[in-house]
Symmetry: D2
Subunit: 338 residues, 4 copies
């Protein structure tokens, strides 16, 4: 941490900052500059709370230097974490694609879509059983029945399944049926849920919050890892900006930024970012090219009849075509970019 | 809902939109224009899912007209909801101020601050027992012990108390001790928690999510009301923008916007928006002037020693001075603006 | 500037950073920490370009410490700048209100509105002669004819006039007629125009760019001052965020932030922020309460017939009512907040 | 335009809206719904100003339907515009790459970089002679001398050159030397400059404003086209969001959105979006994969010594490697995505 003093701050005010730091066990070193003194806080373990210094007389600004995360950090662990689900791996340089409908609507629907996406090359099936919906009047998912259908898909079609868990109440249940549990955008900072996920034996897909800074997202992963579960897959799905031509703004720059800061794998969900089918294919291609560790793509065999998010679901033939491009692009950029 | 067709869309594609709407029980009425046809979806109850139409041939755009909220809407209930806690009222034209530290740290701290803020005119005490923290390594609150201290403050100082609930697990406990339960920014779309709050007998302060649209925030309140609890107080606390000179950007335009759309009271928390003490007083004055139904202000008797958010906590003497201005401004604008 | 090295960066890479800095004439001082070394760049005049260091081996992060502005800075000049136009003063603790229509449409319109706003207490008249419009098909202003009408308003009604200048071509002309020239949001970083304004004898109202950081805005003012014109009034008019319930998000936290960083006066234009009349009055009251140095409010005697921005223009009777509240609020908070 | 009335709006207020519309020459058709009446404004040429209706009694909301742009619209011209500079084409399915340093610093520097980028496959050279800089104290470019160097690069190396024009004063000069003139982010809504560019015989690269909506960007292009110049290349270079891990957020979803709305070619500048070298290569690959019509990439042979934006400039060997990937990815996705 660097504490920047006002121009002309008195020696006493500099000393008070130093004293405050030392009272808390830190080492403080004043650094004289041309116009003003700065004070470095050294040898701290973890980040220091700016609040201790910001109100002190003569203090102009407090600048964080140390990042607060540990376990998720590439400085802590240099080699990539590989998350393994059956024979699917995330983070080993392969390009696994998770696909399926937004919500599980019926056994027929789930099986029909699973067949199609498996044939096209998807290696994991997704589908919501518990659905977080903006409106209490919208379809909330089939609940346990949905989970049972997912299990059937796994048995009959032979794909591991991923589904969202919305609360601790249903965590045991979801964990029992799902191969991977997903924590959604709106729960990225539901810290109680994160702690529970940290005690799970299942890998966790942690979606980025709607307006989460990189650091907040990594700290959410830190909550999970700190409880003992290091099988965390980050998933970018678009952030909220002023833009109105797509539902959210897919932030692909976060991929190299994550790779630099963390060893965790990162996949991309272009479907929720786009909100409309026409944008999903180009954004999926871009997501592969930018160096992500996987994709999550929504597909529906009859999107006009989907109970949620039909507008963003690809038709099966679009998904097939996309998978061919995905594989070709990955052959070029995979392992090359970073 | 209005479905705008592309220029030169065929009669067949217009008819297909009409058929799709009618198959779902809506009335569809084509409206010819100069350049293109639009199709109004009429007599629908609640909002219509754009996804049913967006992928259809010839469709250029789908524009929502009906708002999805009902119970929170001023069209549903014209007169203001007044939320009552003891003899404190929110939404009746008064200017109740809730105050206290960010976190309960000890009995001595809580009592000391409560005395000070009561004397200055605060009518409710706040303090976190369960703290949502970005980092798992930061102080997470005293938990049950914190709730017991809050109860003691109520008994000894005579102020009702408000505190945050982070999950369903602890809801019964928090409900037992708190006069008002608060749902925090990061849980605004924790729908399981909202439903539980809807079954509570306590009034709920619902903070706005970090990047919540007005409509999403009102829909979160709708979740609570739909379960039977209509004692909901909205609380604006700043939203995330590109701005870096304050922690969040306090969005005061949301006050007249809420007043227009909803009958629920809205209060402002300038402390979390600002993040630094210097901005709290001017923003608090502005919050009163803009016509809010109350304030929530952080105060600490020794902010440099606070265990969280000390930088934004007012000193007792600042709070006293603020309260005088608050009352004078409210005397001018209260009941005048809307 | 602080250069943070990676954990385990070699002594050579630290030395290379030091050498790079010294080759450019800076003093570099390594600061050992617990986990990593940081290097302070000291005694630099003005800000240092991060680009010189960011690509060097072992460098993790480069953090700016020194602010790039000088003349606008409160550290450069501690006392408030007072901008004077006739007997109107901005920055002396008074609350001058500038008012008028969005665009000058005709002599009758301008005179009618000027009479009304003067009577209600406005001390300066505004009105666009050259209008920056998003669409080339929208009304672009009356041009020189508009300026002549403004001059007539000044002569007949006795109010100084403010109007926007859009380019250097028309600067001489605008300067001849206007008492204050305004640089609009979309031109905040039109550096050629800023330099020309810096050579003007007229005071300048510099509106904040649609997504300008505080630092960028102050640097735009620095461009003007650096050319010799220190009569600069900053004007906040809302910034672009994800929010849709108001046209822009009025950022009132920028007022205390400007006051802390700069000696320049800052006024608020709630009309353009709101975009709709209903929000203008509460936001104007808040703008006074937050401690601004003035207001700019759009008024039209027949808003439904306005050629631009009618929806945000107050009716004369609303403006009268607003002025009464403005004065009362200012009597409470003026000179008290900072 | 659709005017949504409040629930229970009277027949008189509906009639007043109809009358207001008809007085302005529009056709208004009331559309009864379940809860409320909406009124469609039909047969209008161009967009209608919402301000005429928003203040009227009983009006709840005004929703724009018609887009204000004409010439740039794909509905106006269905086939892609191909912009031609010598034998370089933008919009014909090829993947032209423009490359060079941020600023022209010297003849040696420009020639050295031009040789390198040409060899790697770039087809156009870029370099700033007039530099828009946030600070008046930063290097402002070599001006006319820089233009002369650009001309020399064209003659000696055989690449057409692109450079920025900042104001009308220097437009004739820039036009004389440059093969393509660039209008920068900060001038996207400098309407006087746009009009001048519309009268130029040079193709124009129009960079997207820092927080420009798609519609505003297209309207800026409309300004140019409306004056007679239809050789406009749009250039996405990142927008401002809350994100801090990259300088700006590259918005790749704008590519399919532009393709849908307009016939103009769109290229991507990942260098300015990223701000740091490490992100440029992955973002450039993604920009090709998403279906853009070209790239603009900053390269410097000695980035640590660059006078501006060195941190984002690629080393020559990085650029070479990138060009190989660019061509391979384009071979897969070019002509396939849309």
């Amino acid at each position: 941490m660097l504490i920047v003093m006002k121009k002309g701050a008195t020696d006493q005010s500099v000393q008070r900052v130093v004293d405050t730091a030392e009272k808390r066990g830190y080492t403080a070193r004043p650094i004289p500059g041309g116009d003003r003194v700065s004070i470095g806080i050294l040898y701290n373990k973890g980040s220091v709370d700016a609040g201790h210094f910001m109100g002190l007389e003569g203090v102009k600004e407090v600048i964080a230097v140390t990042k607060p995360y540990k376990l998720v950090s590439r400085e802590f662990q240099n080699e990539n974490t590989v998350v393994t689900v059956g024979n699917v791996k995330f983070g080993d340089g392969s390009m696994p694609v998770i696909s399926g409908p937004c919500a599980i609507e019926s056994e027929e629907q789930a099986l029909a879509i699973a067949k199609v996406v498996k044939k096209a090359g998807a290696v994991m099936f997704r589908g919501g059983a518990f659905k977080p919906r903006t409106s209490p009047y919208d379809f909330q998912g089939l609940g346990k029945k949905g989970l049972e259908i997912l299990a059937k898909v796994r048995d009959e079609i032979g794909l591991p399944v991923a589904t969202e868990v919305m609360d601790i109440e249903n965590f045991d249940l979801v964990e029992e049926y799902a191969d991977v549990v997903q924590i959604g955008t709106r729960n990225m900072q539901n810290f109680s849920l994160l702690k529970r996920a940290g005690r799970s034996t299942r890998p966790v897909i942690l979606k980025r919050g709607m307006s989460a800074m990189l650091q907040e997202w990594l700290m959410a992963a830190e909550y999970i890892m700190e409880e003992g579960n290091n099988q965390v897959i980050l998933c970018e799905r678009g952030v909220r900006t002023f833009v109105r031509h797509s539902r959210n703004t897919l932030d692909l720059s976060v991929v190299p930024a994550v790779k630099k800061e963390s060893h965790l794998p990162i996949i991309i969900d272009p479907s929720h970012a786009a909100g409309v089918r026409d944008q999903v294919i180009p954004l999926a291609c871009a997501s592969v090219a930018v160096g992500s560790d996987g994709l999550m793509i929504e597909v529906h065999h009859r999107p006009e009849e989907a109970m949620s998010d039909g507008a963003q679901s690809l038709y099966p033939e679009q998904f097939e075509k996309l998978m061919k491009m995905v594989n070709k692009i990955h052959a070029i950029t995979g392992g090359e970019i970073f």
